[in-house]
Symmetry: C2
Subunit: 514 residues, 2 copies
């Protein structure tokens, strides 16, 4: 853990240093998680082999569609696939072989090097909610999201100790033209936070804008040699790769920037109702998408993604925190590890309309599974509400606090001599108590994870202080964090160059809202 | 799964059958969980051996106290322990050897044989909250619990599909004299439910009353040959066994009834602040207690318990759903399995004062760990609030619904031909959808777990229907369950004999409220 505050004071010169001193807001940021615990393996070897064999059958016999993308079809043909129309039949083993050139672990750089993250291996990087057109604000109102909400969410992400990544579309800034909002979003991540972030994927040209802006921020050479974005490429399940998403992937892969190649599946609608069937399809789709990234540029960093929920057959709505989603998340973790690929899944998923107990049960179910299934990149790790339609600002703060539980659990169990505590047990003996003993005094500050949000007070104290529920505490904490927020320092020349780029790009095209 | 309703109709004769037909309330009750998934192993072999070696050192060098219990000291002396005053030093290996006569798995019988549970091996039996002096009622009021609340909680437990066990002190009926309330509690479990239950442990004589009442319900011979109660024996941590609890254990073990031998530990107060140190102490205490049960009666059924929370060093309050508690729960599961003993831990633990998001996060963390750590008997699986001071009637219903998630996850992943769903993937193909395909039609009813409580509706429908939050839904569900409740039939002679026993015992002593 480090203090961005300290760093900022060091950088920002006399005036900034004095301001920082006066307010003395300390920003703590935890390093990404490196698991010191095993992964949970729900599938046995036989089940894994059946699913892997079936996925190869799907790729070979059924094939996948690359839609309106003649260049992709040409790449596949050249690689040895049997292309018929837009359908690509991938011979058994080819996709897996192509995937083998993707790195098992890579660094995504942040403008503050202390915020760099490693994605892959035993790491777990936590990034916030992505994509909702609505917010529920601090007054509990549900409304279309604006750029101002976007800024607030980026600031809260920056202030959240357990969040390693600033994310991407933390909400849709619907008050900005569709064809220009990506510029404001990227600029906000770059200037309001110093954590790593995601690029735009809604058009290949917007992916290129994202790369261009990174070249301003990091320098052109640095971007060509390093990964500075991890962007979300959704597969159009079942088995379809559309031109927009693949166009964005082509831009990123060509520039050595990372993509999450991820089916977006509501089980029973976009995949079979069974866990094994869904795993088969998700694996086939991931293999095809990641293989394609390697056809664009061998060695391009990628992440095997699995966004999978089940469906409520009564209402047709997606459901979250369910056992079948957990089983798929565990299984895909095993399948990704057998491919040697970084893995993205899980998040603060819930179907609840409110940040209430339902939301918390469902979210905790998914967060726990995310840690235990070996997820390396957890998008939507905080702030998700209502099946992803809403970014909830209070739930963002509530979930972000719970991410501390994952950090604590991932540490594993120390068994060194101090941790064995035999002297303490001897000192205290039968019938004594440990509060005052030497071992407790030496260790109590770091022994137990502690929420920065939840209430631990005795009933009487809690009642005297106004009997606040979790939502009330979260509202107060979010307001305080936003009030305490100080923008991380940035070279004024870089800041001006970003302004100029955004202004120039916005001026180059009329507003479009579709 | 079976229908008690159907069974009742079969039993109850014409009038009851017609009443059941009219109301057509179907009581579904799931069978206890048999895990088809692996356990999560957080400790490696080296760590396990260190902790086991240290636990033996604790037993031999430090020893344990058996307080005011000369008979226990005599038993230990005869078994080869070094007894000095009330301190029992147990030679390395002796406790483990004595534990080896305890069964690895046993059946607890219910008066309805369909509700029998197996405890041990890969089973998980879910029982409700135990012990709170307060309730939060359906109007959200926090007050001292009464026998009427106790009855409501037993009825809700009987009506809860995912709850296998009626539990014990689901709340303290504080309006009944302390020395008589156990009679009302046991009678309520026996008559208002047909699920298995727990006996009284607050005095050896009350344990004997529990056995005597079971002899009325099940028959004297049956009780001597079968286990019909699983009762909670707390160890007075650190390393102390008091005469009351041991007296109750002696009654139960002598009658071949099961005891959970369980330290009750707030880490940092009753055990070291470190996970490894706490595991060492919990293992030592469990070994000593279970060994003692086998000195009373070789082969008596027992469960290795671990109730462990961490402490908030700011307020001194116990905290729940924390990573350290999870690590201990996982670790003790491994240690219990290495002893071949059934394991009790986890529950709907939370420190929240309200059944809100904090309560749900903390509860879900603990429930998930309970499943994954190989717990065989989960006491407090629903309804716990405020660090165990409160039985919350709405949270009882909320948590009981979430127990369905554990059932679904524990099933594991089928990979038979139907589950592989290759025909479905072929039928649908790229760009299609699965809602109408043959495989979906054949499987959708059972494919996905579905909450009976939480809201899955689209926002607009939900808003039109009153924008109900989880608490509102739980209030409505609890009221409906209590309204629909029908007492399971009982032989009137048994019922009258229980009435007579309770009346006779109550008349035999003056009320005591301490």
């Amino acid at each position: 853990m480090t203090e961005a505050g300290t760093r900022r004071r060091g950088r920002g010169g006399g005036g900034a240093a004095r301001r920082a001193e006066r307010t003395s807001v300390r920003i703590e940021a935890a390093r990404f998680i490196e698991r010191n615990i095993p992964n949970f393996e729900i599938l046995n070897e036989e089940a894994l082999q059946i699913i892997e064999t079936n996925a190869e059958t799907v790729l070979e016999e059924i094939g996948v569609n690359f839609v309106e993308n003649p260049e992709a079809l040409e790449r596949w043909r050249a690689a040895g696939a049997d292309v018929q129309g837009e359908r690509v039949h991938i011979p058994r083993g080819l996709a897996r072989e192509l995937c083998s050139t993707a790195p098992g672990r890579f660094t995504q750089h942040a403008r503050n090097p202390e915020r760099n993250v490693e994605i892959g291996g035993n790491s777990l990087v936590l990034a916030p909610v992505y994509g909702p057109p609505f917010v529920r604000d601090l007054d509990g109102n549900r409304r279309y999201a604006t750029l101002s909400d976007f800024h607030d969410l980026v600031k809260l992400g920056y202030m959240s100790k357990w969040l390693h990544h600033s994310g991407g579309t933390v909400c849709e800034p619907t008050d900005v033209a569709v064809n220009k909002r990506h510029l404001d979003m990227i600029q906000a991540h770059m200037t309001l936070s110093d954590k790593p972030f995601m690029g735009s994927v809604t058009e290949p040209s917007r992916a290129q804008d994202s790369v261009d802006m990174c070249e301003i921020l990091f320098g052109k050479d640095f971007v060509q040699q390093n990964t500075v974005m991890t962007s979300l490429i959704n597969i159009n399940s079942p088995l379809t790769f559309d031109a927009t998403m693949m166009g964005a992937l082509e831009v990123y892969a060509a520039n050595n920037q990372a993509c999450i190649v991820s089916p977006f599946i509501v089980g029973g609608a976009m995949a079979p109702v069974s866990v094994a069937g869904t795993l088969t399809q998700v694996l086939a789709e991931g293999l095809a998408g990641i293989a394609y990234s390697q056809l664009v540029r061998k060695g391009a960093p990628v992440i095997m993604g699995a966004f999978v929920t089940s469906i409520d057959m009564n209402s047709g709505a997606p459901t979250f925190g369910t056992p079948e989603a957990s089983q798929i998340t565990y299984g895909m973790g095993q399948l990704a590890r057998r491919l040697g690929l970084p893995y993205r899944s899980a998040g603060s998923f819930c179907g609840s309309k409110l940040p209430d107990a339902q939301a918390a049960y469902e979210t905790a179910n998914s967060l726990n599974v995310g840690l235990m299934s070996g997820v390396n990149f957890m998008l939507h790790a905080c702030g998700w509400l209502e099946g992803g339609l809403v970014s909830d600002i209070r739930k963002f703060v509530m979930d972000a606090d719970q991410l501390g539980v994952l950090h604590g659990l991932a540490k594993g169990v120390a068994v060194d001599e101090d941790a064995q505590a035999m002297d303490a047990i001897r000192e205290v003996g039968p019938g004594g108590h440990y509060l005052g003993c030497a071992h407790t005094q030496a260790n109590f500050k770091t022994a137990f994870w502690r929420s920065q949000l939840l209430d631990y007070k005795p009933f009487e104290t809690w009642a005297e202080e106004g009997a606040r529920d979790t939502l009330t505490l979260a509202t107060e904490r979010a307001r305080k964090l936003l009030n305490d927020y100080q923008q991380p320092a940035m070279d004024p020349a870089v800041s001006e160059a970003l302004d100029a780029f955004v202004a120039e790009r916005k001026a180059s095209m009329p507003d479009s809202f579709s």
